[in-house]
């Protein structure tokens, strides 16, 4: 084994171990949060970052050939597919949960949300101006 092969081995192992650590974080998050819409945030991380760092490690191992190209194709496909499936899952949750307002605030109209946000912002600036510092 020459130096190039050692470098390949070490770089690939580092990427693979990063990927495994991200998968572990994903699992921890899924068990730590209490509600689906929070869990989805943790679960979407492994779909993009976890699998892409694992496959980058495997690409470094396999070198330049068609297998590398196919792995890159998988990563690109998941970058597009993962946000779409998260969106569809959250729509499922919002459509079927009757007690959604227990878990998060719901605004029926976007104008109401903007009104409240601007009111909050005005309060913050008032506090800052009133603060003699």
């Amino acid at each position: 084994m020459n130096a190039v092969e050692w470098i390949k081995l070490i770089a690939g192992s580092i990427f693979l171990i990063i990927g495994i650590v991200i998968f572990f974080t994903e699992l921890f998050g899924v068990f730590h949060f209490k509600y689906v819409l929070n869990r989805m945030h943790a679960a979407a991380m492994g779909d993009t970052l976890g699998i892409s760092s694992c496959l980058i490690g495997l690409m470094i191992f396999s070198g330049l050939n068609f297998t590398t190209l196919k792995m890159f194709l998988i990563v690109v496909f998941l970058w597009f597919a993962s946000p779409v499936s998260s969106h569809v899952l959250s729509r499922l949750e919002a459509a079927t949960n009757e007690h959604l307002s227990d878990h998060c605030e719901i605004y029926e109209d976007v104008a109401l949300l903007e009104q409240e946000l601007s009111a909050r912002r005005a309060e913050n600036t008032m506090e800052k101006e009133g603060d003699p510092s």
């Binding site: 899924v30 496959l55 792995m71 779409v84 569809v88």
Partner: protein, 110 residues
């Protein structure tokens, strides 16, 4: 020959770690109180299985296993989208029946 000795244990260790994580994911899929919980867990399992198939492709030196991995990604994406749409449809139909007083099953399995 020396190269094999280094790659082989690494791949085996990663496969074992991923299978343990897969079992923990399965616990989440069984426990999940709502349908969306189960679907999120199944999606995670699909991602982990994709990594396992790619590792096996390099371990067994069979390049075509990566093709199977690509098809697996597409089918798992399709499954999540289709099951979500079907479940939304079933839920709305059941709700409609309850509102009209036509009966139907009253237990709300969620």
């Amino acid at each position: 020959m020396e190269k094999e000795m280094l790659y082989h244990p690494l791949f085996i260790a990663l496969l074992i770690l991923l299978s343990i994580m897969l079992l923990v994911c399965l616990i989440r899929a069984v426990k999940g109180p709502r349908v969306a919980d189960r679907l999120v867990a199944v999606n995670m399992m699909g991602t982990m299985v994709m990594v396992m198939i790619s590792i096996l492709a390099l371990l067994l030196k069979e390049g075509y296993l990566v093709d199977i991995c690509l098809i697996y990604a597409m089918i798992s994406f399709l499954a999540v989208v289709v099951i979500s749409k079907v479940y939304i449809g079933i839920y709305e139909e059941r709700h409609h029946n309850l509102e009209n007083g036509e009966g139907g099953d009253t237990d709300e399995r969620s």
